[in-house]
Symmetry: C2
């Protein structure tokens, strides 16, 4: 992904997912792409930014906490989260944050 | 940078800086590295994560808003921000967010 998310005026929420990959590639790239497409169709989705070198950072933006909870419980996403925990990532941290201010050039 | 920031239990704050570079490289890499070192010495600094492909995402973590304000006003950082606006970035968004929850593997 190579665009800055065009989010509305705060407040809104960010899910910051920072990760290190394992050496297991099985279904990873396809699933990651599919999860971005699926997230974008959920209620409350505002945008996503994703970059990886060794460290990966994916930030999805959401209108409210309820939308984040619904996305976390979405069936295909639950399966992807399980694969993430068990196979694709050696380590990760997920942070749920309320965006209070934003400015841009 | 290739490590996940080892942050304390929430709440704390995140400054999410998402950017696209211009084609001006003058002093960029040195200044970026120096700003990370300098930030790490400020009161309230908790950690930083930074990745760039075409899109760059740098997230610094802070204990409170006052620490973020102080860092924003730090003299060398003010000069770097001016160079960023005028030369290094074609576009960027800075978001200030309060981390409310976090979990990890």
């Amino acid at each position: 992904m190579s665009e800055i998310a065009n989010t509305p005026e705060p407040p809104y929420y960010a899910v910051i997912f920072t990760s290190l990959r394992s050496d297991v590639d099985e279904d990873y790239a396809e699933t990651a792409a599919r999860m971005v497409e699926l997230a974008a169709r959920q209620a409350g989705f505002l945008g996503v930014e994703s970059v990886r070198e060794t460290l990966g950072i994916t930030i999805s933006y959401w209108s409210d906490l309820e939308s984040i909870k619904n996305w976390k419980r979405q069936a295909d996403h639950l399966q992807a989260q399980k694969m993430g925990r068990e196979k694709w990532y050696s380590a990760y941290t997920t942070r749920i944050a309320k965006v209070e201010r934003a400015y841009q050039k």
